[in-house]
Amino acid sequence: MNTIAETRTKSLLYLENVSVAFDGFKAINSLSFVVEPGELRAIIGPNGAGKTTMMDIITGKTRPDSGTVLFEDSIDLTKKDEADIAQLGIGRKFQKPTVFESHTVWDNLELALNRDRGVFGTLFYRLTAEDKTRIEEILETVRLTHRKDEYAANLSHGQKQWLEIGMLLAQEPKLLLVDEPVAGMTDAETVETAILLKEIAKTRSVVVVEHDMGFIRDLGVKVTCLAEGSVLAEGSIDFVSSDPKVIENYLGR
């Protein structure tokens, strides 16, 4: 790793030699991985490759057994918990869409808005004109304006995925981690989602985990292929998908 010195100076997210084992099973095995500011990155890999676990580590849900995880070159994420990391500016969409079903779409976004998150801050919070505009913007972005007063429970699966992405936007993160956003979506929704993510990536870094090769192609960005907890190949989609190891491990199955 002779490039560490250069990459470190400009990385947004930096993982080096990260390992974690569950009961002896190595879910992540000396994983090293760098995301630059403004980058949109796709991650592929077979089931159980450790993609979700990697996100768990970045967002503080799982502590790695060893290795370095740095945000903006200096902040050690392994020392922080989920709330700290979210406040630092890392947003995460879960594999299974997770929104507040008994709140309206509007309330979901209002909750996610990047404002004082303390007990008293929220107790005495009042919706300002500025916040209102911001929520309306996001509603437009995720195409949910017409359903803003409905309970999230009544949304379709795809709309919940979008709402969750909208909530992440409201959080104004510097880095967005998106786990399988198009699973269970129709083809048309998938296309829309790719457009949405590319739009979002204009203003921040995004890491997308996906299985859907068509979707990855639509994104048209650098791809990292994970298998058995470490990086197998990295590069353009065509480069990666022609790599014999990737074919053997993932595509060819």
């Binding site: 507040f100 998150r117 007990v119």
Partner: protein
């Protein structure tokens, strides 16, 4: 800031409920004091005392609802906070007895004389002062909730586990308060109260005022609870209940949110206990019994958790039922209560008020959907086609 906080609380249903409670606070004591005993409108003192007790239970149920209905923490130990508030009030009332006890000791309550105490234990000091006692009514349950919650929520003890350790907490306190050398009167508890702030606790006038204060405190707590639940904080609470990890990953400190709610709830319960004690005239360790705490859960479930009015209605209905049954067919009360538990969980999981509200909500949702029909755009059409 505060005004808008309170203003937000006063939404339709709450206003109606508060108005009703305040009406009761005036009307019931008036009918008790001002009408002659043979009048058709007269409310006998024992009925008023009974309803005063129900109001305290209603406040306890409201307290539980705040943590269970809104935050998803099923506490099986709320009776402990209630009892602690009650003991704080009981200690004040004991000190008011002064030399009128059986043993005539001006400082030591009877049970201490009986147990050969030479002087007042340190933790009894100050309780002869009403203001101090009232601060303790809030502080002691609040502090216990804080310590307990601080540990439990930080280490993310959740769901069933949390329920079980809250039960263990109240059970441990039950055992502790049964001990004579705890200095709280052992299994007899505190009783034989004489007066409160100089007024005899037996007098009709005092009882009427206590009743009115119970109704007013319930209204106040209802307003506070409503203000909390209708604020952004309240929405976060519901978020914690429904999708805790989402709240965490949005950057909220879930442990602080839970802790705040738990402490506020414990204080509500403490107030309820403090109002309860002068009206029933006794507080003993039995109030710590885990079964009591579980019963509170039923009141809340019957009325409808996650609604603020529900637990109040539930507590009053179930306890009125209990009074009726234990009077008319004592052996059937447990059958009725047990059956109620089962029936509510099986057939009415949202409780009475929750079910009614849900009905309204679905009607509104239909309307909203019909409106949306007209102005939908492309992806939604696709999305809905996919459904």
């Amino acid at each position: 800031m505060i005004t808008s906080f309170i203003h937000r609380a006063l939404e339709g249903k709450i206003v109606v409920a508060v108005a009703t409670l305040l009406g009761i606070a005036v009307l019931v004591p008036a009918l008790n004091l001002l009408t002659p005993p043979d009048s058709a409108f007269h409310i006998p003192t024992y009925v008023m005392a009974l309803f005063g007790k129900y109001l305290c239970y209603a406040l306890l149920a409201l307290a539980l609802d705040l943590v269970w209905g809104y935050c998803g923490i099923l506490s099986l130990g709320h009776g402990a906070f209630f009892a602690l508030g009650g003991y704080a009030m009981g200690m004040y009332l004991m000190r008011q007895i002064g030399p009128r006890g059986v043993y005539g000791n001006p400082i030591l309550p009877d049970f201490m004389v009986f147990l050969n105490y030479k002087e007042l234990p340190w933790f009894w000091h100050g309780f002869d002062w009403f203001v101090f006692a009232m601060v303790m009514v809030l502080l002691v349950p609040g502090l216990l909730a804080f310590i307990f919650g601080w540990f439990a929520f930080r280490s993310r003890v959740n769901g069933v586990y949390l329920s079980i350790i809250t039960q263990a907490m109240t059970y441990a306190l039950l055992l502790a308060f049964f001990r004579n050398d705890m200095g709280f009167g052992g299994n007899n508890g505190l009783t034989d109260f004489k007066d409160i702030l100089g007024f005899s606790v037996q007098a009709d006038g005092t009882r009427a005022v206590l009743f009115a204060i119970s109704a007013i405190m319930l209204s106040l707590c209802l307003i506070v609870a409503s203000a909390i639940t209708r604020s952004k904080f309240g929405k976060v609470l519901v978020g914690v209940r429904d999708a805790e990890s989402r709240v965490r990953f949005l950057g909220f400190r879930v442990e602080n949110i839970k802790l705040f709610t738990f402490v506020v709830s414990a204080m509500f319960a403490g107030i309820a206990g403090a109002l309860f004690v002068p009206q029933v005239g006794i507080i003993n360790p039995g109030e710590f019994a885990p079964a009591n705490s579980i019963e509170v859960v039923v009141w809340t479930a019957v009325g409808g958790r996650g609604t603020l009015i529900g637990p109040i209605i539930g507590a009053i209905l179930v306890n009125a039922g209990k009074s009726f049954f234990t009077g008319a067919f004592p052996e059937f009360w447990l059958f009725a209560l047990g059956g109620l538990f089962i029936a509510v969980t099986l057939f009415l999981p949202k409780g009475i008020v929750g079910t009614i509200q849900h009905g309204f909500r679905t009607r509104r949702a239909y309307k909203a959907a019909a409106e949306a029909e007209k102005g939908r755009d492309a992806p939604v059409a696709i999305a809905q086609a996919a459904e």
